[in-house]
């Protein structure tokens, strides 16, 4: 009974650390992805203006749209990385909390 109580105590510390970190991480990801999507929309508008004013040819617009599509792929890659980095921080925070709980339990820096 004492053993399962100890596990519960360690687990609760880890879950608390994980949920706090997750909330912070999601805010950062959302801000970055939203900003980059707004910029993509701005670039599409600039291509339209360039075509309308005659500053660029239809072939130029074709290339620019391909670049916007490439950058949209990169935006997803960025979102994926930020989510994974967030998950990494959540796991690291949970493990650090688990270490702290163990050290507290034994009364010295075991891990």
């Amino acid at each position: 009974v004492a053993a399962s109580g100890d596990i519960q105590q360690i687990l609760e510390s880890m879950l608390q650390a994980a949920s706090t970190t997750a909330a912070q991480q999601w805010g950062d990801v959302k801000t970055s992805v939203t900003q980059e999507l707004q910029i993509l929309a701005q670039r599409i508008s600039q291509i339209g203006e360039g075509l309308a004013s005659g500053d660029m040819t239809q072939d130029d617009a074709e290339d620019f749209f391909a670049v916007v599509r490439n950058n949209a792929v990169e935006n997803i890659a960025m979102a994926t990385t930020l989510v994974r980095a967030g998950a990494q921080k959540i796991v690291d925070a949970a493990l650090a909390a688990g270490q702290a709980a163990i050290n507290k339990l034994v009364g010295f820096a075991l891990v």
Partner: protein
């Protein structure tokens, strides 16, 4: 989320658990203190021995390489926007040929370097809804402008760092193709290229910096 587990401590923990159960089942009396110590050892071995990597490794040379490419490209394009009579505006000029040769080599080196990382590929998994949303939005705008372009890079072509660098390389190839076709890039197009290169390198740097431990 894809993760690469490195759980060297887990088999040891499982063995400890089996040994404990065997001793308990065999009638050996395990005291409260001993059990407490056992739980601590079991969990700490798990914590220390089982690290999960969700990301590719951080590479400082890639970060520097992206910044160097950004600087040289923005410098080159800025000379065109400031003075359309500058030699850089002409594709066949010595300045343009030197720029394209050196930047292509720079990007090629970065692509090779990023491709050697064995980290997880950039397939977004839970974020695939975002991928289809963004691609549909861009495709709609492209159709309105009567263009039929497709992306040159897909997310399965390596780690997210590798995908970002391949995007930079593909964008660069598009810029050179346009310059070669039109012979003169022009101030308006050069200005839009500056924005697009800044967007691409900013996202690439965000990706690389996020992999920092």
């Amino acid at each position: 989320v894809a993760a690469i587990p490195d759980c060297t401590g887990v088999p040891f923990s499982v063995q400890l658990l089996r040994d404990w159960r065997k001793h308990r089942g065999g009638g050996a009396k395990v005291g409260l203190f001993a059990r407490k110590i056992f739980v601590v050892v079991l969990v700490s071995v798990g914590i220390q021995g089982c690290a999960f990597r969700f990301l590719e490794s951080y590479d400082a040379d890639i970060e520097t390489g992206i910044s160097d490419y950004q600087k040289s490209t923005i410098d080159y394009l800025t000379r065109i926007t400031q003075n359309p009579a500058a030699p850089e505006n002409s594709y066949t000029s010595t300045a343009s040929q030197a720029y394209y040769a050196s930047s292509a080599a720079q990007l090629s080196e970065l692509v090779v370097r990023a491709a050697t990382d064995p980290g997880p590929t950039c397939v977004p998994g839970q974020l695939s809804f975002l991928e289809s949303y963004v691609q549909q939005a861009v495709a709609g705008a492209s159709a309105k402008s009567k263009t039929n372009s497709v992306a040159d890079v897909d997310l399965s072509s390596g780690t997210c760092t590798a995908v970002a660098i391949r995007v930079m390389q593909a964008d660069h190839n598009r810029m050179e193709a346009m310059h070669k076709r039109d012979q003169k890039l022009g101030a308006a197009n050069a200005s839009l290229w500056i924005s697009l290169v800044e967007d691409s390198t900013r996202m690439a740097l965000t990706i690389v910096k996020a992999t920092k431990p």
